[in-house]
Structures are given as C-alpha cells and as structure tokens.
C-alpha cells in the first residue's frame, strides 16, 4: 500500500447519492484475476451519459471524486476501490459511505472523507473551476477561497494510511494472541473451533 498524506488537484463534481459499487464497476469487469486495468471499466454506465463528468476533459486525471450520501453501497467488490485507484482517484469526499466500501478504500490507500452536505454543495461548486486540497495529517479539506473543513478519521486508519502499513503483516505479529484465543475456544466453544470434514 502506498502511504498517503496530501491529495491536491481537480475533483470530479459527480454529486450523486447512493452510488452503488455496480455503478463504480459493473459485474462483467469482475472476471479478472489481477487488481490492475479496472479503470477502463470505472463508471461505465455513467460514461454513456452525454456530458458526464468522467469524460469531461476539464477534469481529466482528477485525483478526487465528490459524491452524495451512501457512496459505495451494495456489493462488497473491492474491484470498486481498485477501479478508482486505476483511474487515478485517491480520495472520495461524500456525506457518508457504505461500511464495506470505506473499509476496502482504506485497505487500498484511498482516503474517504465524510463532510456535511453543505460542504459537499460548496465543493461541487468549487470543483467546476478550481482544485481542492485534502491534508490527512491535519484532517482538513481546503480550497483557495478560504474554505476550510475538518474531518474525522479513525486514528488507527490514519496511522496506517500515513505510513502505508500492511495490515496482514501487523496482525500476523499478534500470532501468539490468536493462538491463545484458539486454545481457549477449543475448550469453551469446541463446536465452533472445528468442522467435520465430510464434503469435497
């Protein structure tokens, strides 16, 4: 995972509410066995609409997406995060995110910033003409017009994002604690601690 601290640049003023992961990346793109190349399928149906922001040269290569409530709802496909990364997006700003998507985004070094709808409305306006800056260290979103909003982020997630930490490796370092839980569970919940291998 790439460390992330500062994201600055133009933003796609997308603004839509309840953007599901089928919209971010449709199912027929999920047949891949790698993480790369999904940017070509990102927002495929939206891109068929005339004047969509993703094909507007004004925003080409923008690292930020601004969206409405409940971004990333629906399917758990991490391909949605991979597709965003592959199209160069490293930050999404919205009033709220689905739980699964925000986890997937975090694990791929994409910053999800939740701001109130009023801030989103203002950012949608700024994004049409000017860049936006997000600073993870100070937890702020700013524009060159003196707009400034603070955002909340889980301290652990912040630490991992700033340092590009591999969560699997970190948890494996706790192997002893996991082993201790397993021996305890073998006695207390034996029916969960094993399965009968009768199939397959």
């Amino acid at each position: 995972m790439q460390p992330i601290n500062h994201v600055a640049g133009r933003a796609y003023p997308f603004g839509r509410k309840n953007v599901d992961t089928d919209v971010i990346i449709p199912a027929h793109w999920l047949k891949t066995v790698t993480r790369e190349g999904l940017g070509r399928g990102a927002f495929e149906a939206v891109r068929k609409e005339p004047d969509n922001v993703f094909d507007d040269p004004e925003y080409a290569g923008a690292p930020i997406v601004i969206a409405g409530d409940n971004f990333g709802c629906g399917s758990s496909r991490e391909h949605a995060a991979w597709a965003l990364l592959d199209m160069g997006v490293t930050c999404v700003i919205a009033p709220s995110f689905s739980d699964i998507f925000s986890g997937n985004a975090f694990k791929n070094g994409i910053l999800t910033v939740a701001l109130p709808q009023l801030a989103i409305d203002r950012l949608m306006e700024v994004a049409r003409t000017d860049p936006i800056e997000i600073d993870l260290e100070t937890q702020t979103v700013t524009t060159q017009f003196q707009d400034r909003w603070s955002f909340e982020i889980d301290p652990f997630r912040k630490h991992c994002l700033l340092n590009g930490l591999d969560e699997v490796g970190m948890t494996m370092a706790q192997g002893d604690a996991i082993g201790a839980y397993e021996s305890k569970a073998r006695d207390a919940l034996p029916f969960l601690a094993k399965t009968l291998a009768t199939v397959g």
Partner: protein, 477 residues
C-alpha cells in the same frame, strides 16, 4: 465486553474478541470463511507473493457460483462441458487450483453439493448460530438467519482472514427491526424485507447491525429468515440476524458439517444463551405492523424504491428530499416508467426465480404452487428457475416441482448465481423488464440496460403467468 444486559450481537462479539486496542478496534476471531471464485484470486495471489499460508484451512470452504453457466455442466458421457467465456473459465480454474494449493476444501462445479455459497453454507451445517462468518460477498448477511454474525468483506479482508483467521473491526451500532402482528395471505418473507427497506431506506442501516425481532420472525421458517437477513445489506447494514431457536436447531441437526454427540449438546446449550437479554437496548428501533405489509415490488433502481403491488409508479414530486427527487427522475427514465401508471399494468418480458435471496426449496415450492396447471404468457420470452444448490435441485425434482415448472413453459436450470448479476450467460437484454426474485435492482445489475423489478418467488411466478406485474392473491386465493 459490554456491561449489563446484552444483545445477541454483543454476545457473539464478546465471545470472539482476541484483542482490543486502546482506540476500541478489536481483533475478532472468524469461525467460518466461505470463498468463491470472484473475490478470492487476488487474495490468494497476495498470500503467495508474501510467502504466507492459510492459518485454518479447516474453517474455510470454497465453492464456485458467480461465473457458472446454469446450462448442463456434463455431456452425455459424464464429462465436464468447457465454459465458453474464457475469462470466466480462467477465474473458475484459478479457484480450482488455489483451493488444493492452500489446503482448502473445495466443492467443484459438477459436485452434487455445489450451489450458491450462501445456500451451501447453511445447507451443509457449515454456518452455525453464534459463529462469526465471512465471505467476499455482501450477501453473507444471509447466514444471520441462523443467528450467526455474518457479513461481507472485501478481497483484502479475505486475504487477512486466510492468513490470520481474524479481522480488525470496530463494534457496530445496533438496530432493532421489530415486526409484529399477523401477515396476510400471499405475504412472504421477501415482501417483509422489501417493505422494511422501503421504510428504513437503503442507507438506514449503515454503521449498524440489524436484529430482526418480533413474532413474525419467530414464526418464520429458517429459509424465510435467510431471505430476510440476506437483504440486510440492501438497507445498508453489513449484518442482519435473528435469534436462534428450536427451529434453527432442528434445521441444523444432522447436516454434514454440524456438530454431533456431546459437541451438539454443548452447542445447543450455548446457542440458547445467545438471545438478547431483557432490558438490553438498541441504538435505533424501527417497529412495523405485519398487517401493513402487502405483496411488494420495486419500481426504481434502488431497493428502497418499493410499493405494494396495488400501488402506482410514483412521481419525483412525491418525494420531499431534493436529491431523492433527482434520483427518482433518473431511475424512472432508466426504467421506462411513467408516474401514475398502475404497477399491475407494467408488462414483463423476462422472469428470474433464483439467487441467494430466493432459491431454497421453499422458494421453488412457492413458485411451483402458482405455476401448477398454468402456462407462462406468450410474450414472456425468457423465464428461468434456478435452484440454489444441487441438493435443492434434487429435492425439488424428488417432489416433481421441476415438471410443474417445465410444463408451465419455464426453464429448470443448474444451480448458480445466474441472472442476479451479469457475470454469466444469464442476462436480461437492454430495455427489457425482468420480474426477479434477486436482491438488487441497480442500473445494469442484470445486464447493461436491464430493468429489474424485485419481488417474491410467488409474485414472480404470477408475473410469468400473466406477463405483467401481478398481485399473486388474484391467482391463488
């Protein structure tokens, strides 16, 4: 550890904490991990690149479902028929290769136990009450119908669970959805859950785990409970669960992976202790009267766009929220619907009965009961019934349900995810409508340009017969 009276969710959570950090994040032990072909290749690749192994292959079960065509899998000589789509074939072959390499049990496409991962787990007794169950699929919430804490995860989390058998999680808020009263005739578990999502909205459960409570769920079959919990995610909740009871125990006893002997007795004793304590509180409560629930269909492109079948297509102006008005405008345009149209006047060209929401034996029985002695309408071009597993298929055939279905002019298929999502050959053509028992009516979900109306198996069967959205109570009194 929660102090004082605890909810079902909190009890399961407390029993699985390996470690808690100062910031409240906990390392949670995972009891059961289901794996399918779509969300696992990159996870196995990640393990391979880091030289890591699977910590508990014995708690992991792999089965292909999303990519498989639902046409016959073996030729006359009993040999597997190759899959035409090369990308699908490659993804399926990747799972078939990865599972033995990492020592994971694997059910193959041609095995009689194969099926949709969320049908297979409960059916095999692999999914158990009180267990933490994950799968790289958001409909993992289904297993909550047994009283498990089950939720969908992304591929990085799949890799994390394979390597460590744990996940780093923050405790969710709790939400109670209580449905009490008497359901009317023709009102099924699918109608109940569609109605709930219509009330709570698709973001209403975000950050929460839902516990479904009240006499309606107590009286519901296990299949019905799996249907309700399956769609918890459509209301934004990562998990939905229902307290295990005698019905749950009777359903699980004797299933291949279920505990036996002394372990079974211990298990039942513990499962009985899991029900939410009197006096435990929820962060949010929604109460619904069973009598208010009608046979329900969706008209838009969000699962919250529900209406009783007797209703009409709404107008954008009917909604107070400005962004919802815009969304409704876009979705009615996509769906090709005019406000004010009676839902029962909407014609369908396709019918899909199946998916992890509604492909269990009771669902097939409910569809067959409507189809018996009837024929599908001529203008319904494509109507398929797809059992959730090979065992459901065998059971349905033993009951003669396949014959009723075929005689009514519908196709009887091999198990898989099928037309729920456009990943295999079963797709709805652009601009055409489908009466579907699946879980998502998103734009393009059943194929680019497809128009989905979600409903119960009985309602979908009724739509096949009349060729339009139909109140099943008019066919079956």
């Amino acid at each position: 550890m929660t102090n004082g009276p605890r909810t079902l969710y909190q009890k399961i959570w407390d029993a699985h904490v390996v470690d808690t950090r100062d910031d409240g994040t906990s390392l949670i032990y995972i009891d059961r991990h289901l794996v399918h072909e779509v969300t696992s290749p990159q996870a196995f690749e990640g393990l391979r690149m880091a030289g890591r192994s699977v910590r508990r292959p014995d708690l992991t079960l792999a089965v292909p479902d999303h990519n498989l065509p639902t046409t016959p899998r073996k030729d006359a000589a009993g040999n597997p028929i190759p899959i035409a789509d090369l990308e699908s074939a490659n993804q399926l072959a990747t799972l078939r290769r990865n599972a033995p390499q990492f020592g994971i049990r694997y059910i193959d496409a041609t095995d009689r136990e194969q099926g949709i991962v969320h049908v297979v787990g409960p059916e095999q007794g692999f999914s158990l009450p009180g267990a933490t169950i994950v799968c790289g699929d958001s409909h993992t919430a289904s297993h909550g119908g047994l009283g498990a804490l089950a939720f969908g995860i992304g591929t990085s989390e799949v890799e994390h669970v394979l390597a460590t058998q744990t996940l780093l999680l923050k405790q969710s808020k709790t939400m109670e959805v209580r449905v009490e009263g008497q359901l009317g005739p023709g009102v099924t578990p699918k109608d109940v859950v569609l109605h709930i999502i219509g009330v709570t909205g698709m973001g209403g459960g975000t950050g929460h785990v839902i516990e479904y409570r009240g006499n309606v769920f107590e009286e519901m079959s296990i299949e019905g409970r799996l249907t309700v919990c399956n769609m918890a995610i459509e209301g934004g909740a990562r998990s939905g669960l229902i307290a295990p009871d005698e019905k749950t125990f009777a359903y699980l006893k004797g299933r291949p992976y279920a505990p036996t002997g002394e372990d079974w007795d211990k298990a039942v004793a513990w499962w009985k202790s899991l029900a939410t304590d009197p006096g435990a509180t929820f962060d949010k409560t929604v109460v619904i009267r069973a009598e208010d629930i009608q046979p329900t269909v969706t008209w838009g492109t969000s699962p919250e766009d529900t209406s009783a079948i007797g209703g009409t297509v709404p107008a954008p102006e009917d909604f107070a929220d400005a962004s919802k008005r815009d969304a409704v405008k876009v979705s009615l345009d996509y769906m090709g619907l005019t406000p004010g149209t009676k839902l029962t006047d909407v014609e369908v060209q396709n019918v899909f009965i199946g998916s992890c929401t509604n492909s269990r034996i009771e669902d097939i029985r409910a569809a067959a009961a409507v189809l018996k002695g009837r024929k599908k309408a001529d203008h319904v071009k494509w109507a398929i019934v797809v059992p959730g597993s090979g065992l459901v298929k065998e059971q349905a055939e033993a009951e003669g349900l396949d014959k009723i279905i075929v005689e009514a002019g519908l196709e009887w298929r091999e198990p898989g995810c099928s037309a729920c999502l456009a990943m295999n050959p079963d797709k709805v053509p652009a601009g055409e409508r489908c009466a579907s028992t699946s879980n998502r009516n998103f734009t393009g979900r059943q194929g680019p340009g497809s128009r989905t109306h979600l409903m119960s198996p009985a309602m979908a069967a009724a739509a096949a017969v009349t060729g339009r959205l139909t109140d099943v109570r008019e066919l079956v009194g």
